[in-house]
């Protein structure tokens, strides 16, 4: 690794001071499972790492307040997955989190870091968007909220402005019955990037939402309100046509993990599958 300085501020105020002092040459260090790899492979350049794990304001555990779950920037994925109430409320997101890396990676990697890394293949992002996650961005002048799908603007590009960093991600507890499911396709189970990943929700009035990952520079969101996807008795051809219409907004490319055609074909197969799963969860009263 190229040499860099290390700072471990004890408060948010000190962190903002460091970010303004060092500017764009500073990188935030939380779990480090993407950052350290980037530094070693020299795909990331940093003259100083600001380790935010010493910040007193951050809570290590998942917090619940005012109908929202809040996951701080230093909370690792394993800790989120261990929270029983969170598991029961956001099962599809937990499934996505449990596919990230491996046990060792999840014990370090943070959910916020998975968002900030802004990979088009990030597994947690489709279900975060489906559950309506908001990113709490902190800056010297205060905090602003950005929906997760707007926060990630492209590969490795976020809505962060100079001097800002992400304090937490928050998820509203669904206030009406909702069924949500997640799927991903990889070449092997552990420590692989998604060929495609996707999540969908279905509510009791028949609105279906889809989020497709790894099939475009940004997350692709789709919504279907006609009810044909919510009606499992509708002709299969009509349902496939509605899914194909949503998938048409994606722009998969050919790379080492799959061809464009393969990705499109698998999106349809997996969309059918998670739609059935989400409908089952809605019927059973699971979110």
């Amino acid at each position: 690794m190229k040499p860099f300085l290390y700072q471990r501020p004890g408060s948010l105020a000190q962190t903002f001071d460091l970010l303004s002092e060092y500017g764009s040459s500073a990188r935030i260090l939380a779990g480090g499972t993407d950052l350290i790899v980037g530094l070693r492979q020299q795909s990331v350049d940093a003259s100083v790492l600001v380790d935010i794990k010493g910040i007193g304001e951050f809570l290590p555990e998942v917090a619940f307040a005012d109908g929202h779950f809040v996951i701080g920037a230093t909370t690792d994925i394993s800790r989120v997955c261990e929270n029983e109430k969170f598991r029961a409320t956001f099962p599809a997101l937990v499934e996505a989190m449990e596919t990230v890396g491996s046990v060792q990676i999840r014990n370090r990697a943070t959910l916020v870091g998975n968002v900030c890394n802004a990979s088009p293949a990030a597994d947690t992002v489709p279900p975060l968007a489906i559950y309506g996650a908001m990113v709490n961005v902190g800056g010297r002048d205060g905090t602003r909220q950005v929906p997760v799908q707007e926060f990630i603007r492209g590969p490795r590009q976020t809505a962060l402005r100079p001097g800002e960093f992400v304090l937490s991600v928050q998820l509203p507890v669904p206030n009406a019955p909702l069924g949500v499911a997640f799927a991903r396709l990889t070449r092997r189970r552990g420590v692989d990037l998604a060929t495609v990943n996707l999540s969908c929700s279905i509510d009791s009035v028949g609105t279906v939402r889809f989020a497709f990952g790894a099939v475009g520079p940004r997350l692709v969101l789709g919504i279907e309100r006609s009810g044909v996807l919510a009606d499992s008795g509708a002709p299969a051809g009509d349902r496939d046509a509605a899914l194909a219409n949503l998938i048409a907004a994606t722009s998969p490319r050919t790379d080492i993990r799959g061809t464009q055609d393969y990705r499109s074909a698998m999106l349809l197969v997996l969309s059918r599958r998670i739609l059935a799963e989400a409908a089952g969860r809605l019927d059973s009263g699971q979110p």
């Binding site: 040499p3 290390y6 350290i36 790899v37 491996s102 046990v103 370090r108 189970r189």
Partner: protein, 158 residues
Amino acid sequence: MIDALPVVLNINGLKYEFEVLPYRSLLDVLRDELGLTGTKECCAVGECGACTVHFDGRSINACLMLAIEADGGSVTTIEGIAPPGEMTRVQDAFLEHGAVQCGFCIPGMVMSAEYLLARNPHPTEEETREGLSGNLCRCGGYNRMLQAISSVSEESTP
């Protein structure tokens, strides 16, 4: 010029105080500065698990953690998993089941197996596979490892 920073670390029950450059990984320091070479380096990007150690009781990839980040914490490496000269049940079972071929992945495999069994003494085969999914064995000796872990699980009372 970047200065070395002071670190206090408990490693395998012993207190170590040293200075470290901020861009040194925990793995580099364990192996190259402290002589604890049981922890292996292979991929150095968190994919193979050969560098698995326990940090504050949780299994992690030592290649993805800076030594300076570990300041104030406690680390258990393969050298400290059992008292000197002794082996854990997992290590014995790996030998009994012929789970060790070239041996390079084994320290990491044992650390992952110990972590799995400490949290879940009776894992299903699927849970065991998931518990080891961050560890690669290029000899392909996974089945014997699963048998070894399963034998340890069966010995303890459910």
